[in-house]
Symmetry: C2
Subunit: 183 residues, 2 copies
């Protein structure tokens, strides 16, 4: 799965060749097909892998830091915008899986489910900051923050905005959403 995330981040979903993946993982193509059945199986498992990995380097890390609720929220979201190989690779692969779903419907359900889980996680963190906010207001704020993060992440990865600037735009958006959810 690590090899697959690496190959997708290097060549894109549409450039993913099972032969290259097998070479990267140091196994035979037969073993790849045995494990994942087909290309869709590879993509589906890779999506799950990058989500689990993001969970580790964002939520779990932020939760371990014993921050105030608003700082835990900020830290969780900003940890997605870091110039370290793991995050860059994860974000590139996630953006590619999302972009390929525009043309190919196969992964849409998996992507929708993964996005929903992510929205719930962020809505939960927002609820700790604003316990009186309604569930729909929290969900909408979480959806906006995540969609903004995806937009900024694509812009950063494609060289359209420096990382610091993307981080500061996201940080200000967090403040705006928290302010909007009231006291």
């Amino acid at each position: 799965m690590e090899a697959s995330a690496r190959v997708i981040a290097r060549r894109g979903v549409r450039g993913l060749r099972v032969e290259e993946l097998a070479a990267e993982a140091g196994v035979s193509t037969a073993l790849i097909y045995y494990h994942f059945k087909d290309r869709t199986g590879i993509l589906r498992q890779t999506l799950e892998f990058i989500n689990d990995r993001a969970e580790r380097y964002t939520r779990e890390r932020a939760a371990a830091e014993q921050l105030s609720p608003v700082e835990e929220l900020r830290s969780t979201l900003l940890l997605e915008l870091q110039d370290v190989p793991e995050v860059r690779e994860n974000s590139t692969a996630w953006g590619e899986l999302r972009a390929s779903a525009v043309f190919d419907e196969t992964l849409r359900e998996d992507l929708a489910r993964a996005t929903l889980v992510w929205v719930h996680e962020i809505a939960e963190l927002l609820a700790r900051v604003r316990p009186m906010a309604t569930a729909p207001a929290l969900a909408a704020a979480a959806e906006r923050l995540i969609a903004l993060l995806e937009g900024l992440s694509m812009r950063w990865l494609s060289g359209g905005v420096p990382l610091d600037h993307a981080r500061s735009l996201l940080s200000d958006a967090i403040d705006a959403e928290v302010a909007r959810l009231g006291a």
Copy 2:
């Protein structure tokens, strides 16, 4: 250029074949190469074409409606989220050009320039709503709104969110940014 936007929206940037483009435009491949020199020339001109076209179906249309400044801003941004073939094709092609820039540096400068023009346009509309806001605050709000719009647009095109919901999330974000810029 229309044919090129259509082919990119159908197959993606990486699926763009000059033969298919020539067939779509009803001309010879030699004529395509004569006009655009190479693949990069095609992509560069297509980017310009989709930006000009977006300008027409968003800003010019919103400006013609004689709206209040905040409604003109809202209309301009929401016109990017419409389920009509021209907008869907434009947004798909734009998303593809952005996504391909993660892997290929050729178009990065053109994309950055086009994005900057777009940020300025939205910042100008915001300035009419909030004449006392500072230029950096206006630019940051415009950047956030556009990055959010791109994120929502990708999510809509990949089947991750219904159009109405994407529009309502964007509309609320406009209110939040306007509120944040003060009176």
